[in-house]
Symmetry: D2
Subunit: 344 residues, 4 copies
């Protein structure tokens, strides 16, 4: 059988690397091209040493049209603002694109306000927001904007109650591993600063908040910036985001009714595992290395606390991108993605 050819633009970072790890286990697709301007000519396994013996490619630096010619689908894993320079040529070249940057997640105007730069390729409504549990229209799409890592966990934790119109306030308190900050060393990622520590940052201003508000607002228009709060933290972990959603409801509600809403909402969503009462609550170890989003919840009075856990590099980035790829290329949604979590 012919394998689908996949391109990865920006293969030196964690997301590009994780795309390769996952695609190595995909039965229908293979990596054809991995680009890096800086590393062009270097063997991929010189940088991503753990993939030695598994992948036999060197970083290249071809033009977008060459990539489009060679590939059935291209992942753009480049910094925010850089994707919009590449994506138009890729689409014109006839390939499909999953963009892992923020460039196409928000309307151009919101993007410009949030990221403080002009958008040179506004195509509002043209890109699908690639959270497949909410946007099955990724099937057949030519351009999908893969969501941010925090929004994935936050939106999935609150969507069923937003959908039911029951939420007065949604306060998301997220605890993330540091790999979301990327491959470059920084003061925050410096081991003596992060080990045995917790840091809150961008407490009210994180750029992922508009994505959360956008998607919850589609389900419940009352959930706007005055009702939805998001505070991220980094914890001493490489991978994973645990989001604690403190949801204050319009009225008191029973656990059974709320749990039913979650189970129904995610009934046919293979990557969302709803943990019922009696189960332990979600934790990072249960999803490590996998594309699952685990969800559990506890009720008390007019408040529901929902816990979601994802691997930020998988369901929060590369795995979800491949989930979108599967839909775009007409493959089963789970194709190559039911990789068991690595626990312990």
């Amino acid at each position: 059988m012919t394998m689908l050819d996949i391109g990865i633009i920006g293969g030196s970072g964690y997301t590009g690397c994780e795309l390769m790890r996952l695609l190595l286990q995909h039965p229908e697709a293979r990596v054809r091209i991995v680009t890096s301007r800086r590393l062009s000519g270097t063997r991929v396994t010189n940088i991503h040493r753990h993939l030695s013996g598994l992948i036999d490619l060197s970083f290249e630096n071809p033009s977008p049209s060459e990539i489009a010619d060679a590939c059935d689908l291209v992942f753009t894993a480049v910094p925010h603002g850089a994707a919009m320079d590449i994506v138009p040529a890729l689409l014109e070249g006839g390939t499909r694109v999953v963009d892992l940057s923020a460039d196409y997640r928000l309307p151009a105007q919101v993007f410009e306000k949030t990221y403080g730069r002009a958008h040179t390729d506004p195509r509002d409504g043209d890109a699908v927001f690639g959270l497949p549990e909410l946007h099955p229209e990724a099937s057949g799409a030519r351009l999908v904007a893969n969501p941010g890592c925090y929004p994935t966990g936050a939106i999935l934790s609150a969507a069923p109650l937003a959908n039911a119109g029951m939420t007065r306030y949604a306060i998301f308190d997220s605890k993330s591993g540091i790999s979301g900050a990327g491959v470059e060393p920084s003061n925050t990622s410096h081991y003596p600063n992060l080990a045995e520590n917790v840091h809150a940052y961008n407490i009210t201003t994180h750029r992922h908040l508009p994505e959360i508000v956008q998607e919850l607002g589609l389900l419940d228009s009352s959930l706007n910036h005055n009702r939805v709060y998001f505070t991220p933290h980094v914890v001493p972990a490489i991978r994973g985001i645990l989001t604690t959603a403190h949801l204050i409801l319009r009225e008191e509600c029973e656990y059974d009714a709320i749990m039913d809403a979650y189970k129904e909402f995610y009934m046919d969503k293979p990557f969302v595992r709803v943990r019922e009462a009696g189960d332990a609550l979600p934790s990072l170890a249960d999803v490590r290395g996998s594309n699952f989003c685990d969800i559990g919840l506890v009720c008390g009075g007019d408040r529901v606390v929902v816990i979601s856990a994802i691997d930020n590099l998988v369901k929060g980035a590369a795995g979800q991108a491949i989930q979108n790829m599967n839909l775009m290329l007409g493959l089963p949604e789970t194709c190559g993605l039911l990789i068991p979590p690595l626990s312990p």
Copy 2:
């Protein structure tokens, strides 16, 4: 000068051990007796090996009245429910007591409901809630109930705004190191379960919540169980609690006004360090091993997010107990307690 003689009832766990570490550095007080029923006769340094060469005592098991005779003040570092069996005899014996269990923190009726057991020594109003920043009446008291670790960080993060009557909802999301769970191995403390992980637990039902409600309610009677929420988590850290207080205010408020309220409220409180804008936010490393509580905050609309950081074994337990001891014995509040944090 004569040293004050101190007794520690229950010296085998982390709290008893930490009392010894701190009292070794105290210029006016020394440990005279350390008890352990199980370990009676064993040298203290056989159990707390890091104190070898510094302390020359064996665990003993004398009666409360013998302890009271020998000691100017006694710390009871025993399980919840066990202190009430010992404290009456200690007080009758004429010594002073700082109880580190939960037995005297709450009115007996609330205690019984929260801890599910009868209270055999109700003395409501007789014990001071030992958060010295709110309860200076510890000075001269004979019995002080040392607060729980979570309540210390949570109450201090929200007290100034509670005091100003500005708070509509107070949602505390706490991230704790695992030493708060004690010296005994458990599934939660098992390294493969905790490393690289985060766990929420007792999401709406933690037994520290009544302390938080009690103390904030004294400052603002509208802050009752329908307005104050508390969700604890454990993170991969030995020591420390970072509390993220999501405070929803009655009306929008400016940063400067709120920061002024915090600075004024804690003006003469030597162990609370208010971090102003421009400073980095509090983190566990900044307080590790010390009695400080660092506080920082960010505002946005009708919401204030306050971050507090403490060492759960020091300001959250043994250090605060010694702070109370200083007040009870007429020593300067900071005596022997300005130990610099261990960072990195």
Copy 3:
């Protein structure tokens, strides 16, 4: 195509769980039976929560002959001393066995001295020592004794120079993650005791030493207990063993000659990746979750320092067991096992 049916005796611990994780990704074999006396009737995913949605089995407790009837091959993941009670019936029942305990790794006499108990099923020479890089005779074998985790990393680090007869002393200093100690909490695995710490233990007496001596002695009979030393440590890591082999040679030797010996020795061994000069040295992250053993080395005078890295639960246990299974069942050695490491 028909899948091969596999049994796992002792499925509640880390090794049994890891066998399931890996077999879920195997194209030719599937888990048919998982046993646990204690958990019989409980769903597997109630214990191994991360496998929810992936495996639909309950723990059972059938007799060995029932298991033998149902399975093409059985893994015994039971405590040392318990395998010898089960294995004879399994073999008589006509199935093949990979035993992950220590029961069949050593001659019965050495076993009895090392483990301090009688051997009730001595079959010296009948079981293959399942280190496939040294013992290809696992192909077609009916009983394979899967090596210990430490011996796997230690033997592979030193075998080429032992084979060349060049080694005077072999001093193995190993650094292990804690998962090797199992799923039960202990003082050693208690997070406050292990985080930010390193422990040496069983410095001269670890029970894995006889395996190391046995296998190196087969290659170079001068390498006996007076020439081979082994000291294990635990480090703050869940998975992985990094072994530093300090090899003192009979005479000075050049790097190129030694590196050539390693490359030649492991030429057709798909799971051993020899890292050449210029590469970074092996580290745990490069092999995490995978069946690879990475090896690198540095020379100086009459000394060679070899570094090997494995995942103790994979190449050190379940992965190697499946590698043996592949050989025993006539499958390609790498079938289902080229799972990319999880890094970062």
Copy 4:
């Protein structure tokens, strides 16, 4: 009583910071000047935030002679090669100096070969190698070269047997926390690279080896570069070095005789705690934050394995520097330094 005035040249890094932490607890000395060229004018607590409320100084950049005038003793905590530019002027200015760089630890010729740069201030024999357990002549010295962190742990682990002339080979395998690499983020200190990992580095070529050989060679001239090996590793820990010394003796020896040699050698050394049989072996937690070096050992045939544990920033740097300061200024060796370890 008048406090002694202390200067710290190079106060922005971990060593300078740790000197401040320790001197804040010293009853006879206080920090008078802290220098930093880059940070001159910045408040110390803006950089070392954990010291807020404890120290009220700003970084300065005075000339060496101004510092010498103001200070009874100066610590130079500057990069290797930078101290030799400052120390002569400090000594000429009449102050005493403890140099924490490598500049005066080795004969100039050895320094030049090891560090690959010319020595502009050779004063062989003029500086005391500041390991007080071996070099009491620090008392009254004007210039002390504070040892490297690895040499401190390695030399102390092997000195008694070297002194007894019993050692044939000394193979040091050290496991270090990452703080020894300094305050600047790097790939090695990047949390995703270090957490859950172990790295060997500079396996045969670390620049601390000549110090180890020099000092052991003074005790036993047969211990030269052909007999003494040193391999460092970094482990996921902020602080601490655990050294495993694999000592091969000239002949078999009994535990009791060797333990006696250690106890006698360190009889009057207050910072070396020899752990006897029955004690647990040394570990990083037992010495964290303190100036202790814990030593334990196990024997087997002609081999002794000695374990030593230090805090690399205290006994391996700032604490030992203050121990030297005490001796140089005629204070008791332990003055201000018996700070209990922080454990857990």
